[in-house]
Symmetry: C2
């Protein structure tokens, strides 16, 4: 096989074998790569099994912060795929790591205000951080500044950071109290990820970045972002797992997040699959401002189909 | 009295009388100028009566889109101040005027999706426009893409515009459906106003602009803004009331919205009052990127107190 200058399509056994020979670690985005919502894509289980049989190490890297790693492991199990929690990195987990390891907040002492879902609070709890906000049912009440317990009881001075992510329970109460914490200059501001939208059952819905933008604009502050393509997330994985970047391949369905994450993170390889939002035209388009993948495939399952 | 180069403080009978002699029309911002929330400021009624007794015409111009002009007239009445609806311009009314007069949407045929409160929908209705969204109780239900009636029944093809404003009932359902309409390129996008925050009982809360930013970022679109300081609002008032700009004075408590509105709208005068968010230091600060007022006063009621 001759390596061309542009992305190489995985359309023969030889190319698929080259990919396998080149890398010892594969990092996968999940939605759009392994599954679409609740529907596993073709030959995913077989491809993951093939990689494991060939001695590869697999990690799963998602910008979805609504579920914890434990909840993700259960989702894998529901598809009959055995994946342990320590193979999974969510943007909620990456945010909690950032709070502990980069911001140096102290578990058991410093607290975090969560504008987002339980996937963030659960990861914080595992690290020993108390969190406020999130699913607190008092935030489901209509906001009234004279009766909100978060106002009448005063802001908690132990809160040293706001983590903001996708929150499908977003309401004015949550926005207003999040803003009160962000108005305190010593409270740090962390975003799980900045995707403006995400696809769901053929529709484009508001993503974490859109909701975070609301409180960012209101407070006049910019958050530190943790999810793909931010290097914070990759650095956390590389450090935790002691990875050699040149031997890693990032597999994803989005040029601007997954492939950028792999290219800017100086991983040895990137593989774009076309089962998510990108087309073959996009994969080969050199005129955009996004990086190009080293490899691309119609679907991840092609690796299994071509090798066998 | 010698006219200085900087803003002139209204601190003597002579200056107050000069102000009265110079203009025949006064446009007032409301919150922070006439009242703070539900509390009328000192000598407001007496000052307005004095202006009327001197033959002045008064208009009231607010970026608050949550109340209709009719609701505003009731608020004035609750303070014992008689103001008719046609003296009141809200950003919701300005948005409805913009939809009819600038976008040329057709009442009775074209519809508007409202991400905001009843102050917008009521003004649209008075012009003969049907609106969707807004207070529809079905939007208070948790969002589920498979069961939301706004998805299962399909988007309404008669909707030709989205008006977005402050919505204290904001939730994921409202954001998601608003985004579906904004993804249609032929649906126009109008913002009542773009204030990032607003003050309430000593707290700073998320304003219309912050919430609009969420759907603007998600859709990748920028709305046409109607409220102060946008000239759309002043043009609508000047046209509707056949005003001579040089004989008008804008009175407000915010340099960046009210005073900018008057200066950029080429009104004869501007008067900043210090009962809202600005200080005397701000009023005289030439280093900012905001315009300076022609006059300023500790409070609007000083006009009455100085003249009498």
């Amino acid at each position: 096989m001759t390596q061309s200058n542009g992305p190489v399509k995985i359309d023969s056994k030889a190319v698929a074998q080259t990919l396998l020979d080149q890398y010892d670690t594969f990092l996968f985005d999940c939605d759009g790569v392994l599954w679409l919502g609740t529907h596993l894509l073709p030959h995913i289980k077989e491809t993951l099994d093939l990689l494991i049989a060939n001695g590869k190490t697999l990690y799963f890297v998602t910008n979805n912060s609504t579920k914890s790693r434990a909840a993700y492991a259960k989702k894998f199990a529901s598809f009959g795929v055995t994946v342990s929690e320590d193979q999974i990195f969510t943007s909620g987990y990456a945010s909690a790591l950032y709070v502990r390891d980069s911001l140096k907040l102290q578990p058991g002492k410093d607290k975090v205000w969560v504008f987002g879902e339980s996937g963030i609070a659960e990861e914080l709890k595992l690290m020993g951080f108390d969190s406020l906000g999130c699913n607190d049912p008092r935030l489901d009440q209509a906001f009234d500044i004279t009766t909100s317990p978060f106002i009448t009881e005063g802001l908690d001075p132990s809160v040293k950071c706001v983590i903001a992510g996708l929150d499908t329970k977003v309401n004015y109460h949550r926005l207003a109290i999040t803003l009160q914490y962000l108005q305190q200059p010593d409270v740090k501001f962390v975003a799980t990820n900045i995707d403006s939208t995400y696809p769901n059952k053929g529709y484009i819905l508001p993503g974490a970045g859109s909701m975070i933008n609301c409180v960012a604009f209101a407070s006049g502050r910019e958050p530190a972002a943790c999810g793909k393509p931010n290097p914070n997330m990759l650095n956390a994985i590389v450090t935790a797992k002691n990875l050699e970047r040149s031997k890693c391949c990032m597999v994803g369905d989005r040029l601007n997040t997954d492939i950028r994450f792999g290219v800017e993170g100086k991983l040895g390889g990137t593989l774009l699959v076309l089962t998510g939002i990108e087309t073959e035209k996009n994969a080969l388009d050199t005129s955009g401002d996004h990086p190009l993948p080293k490899y691309y495939a119609d679907k991840l399952g092609d690796i299994y189909e071509l090798i066998n």
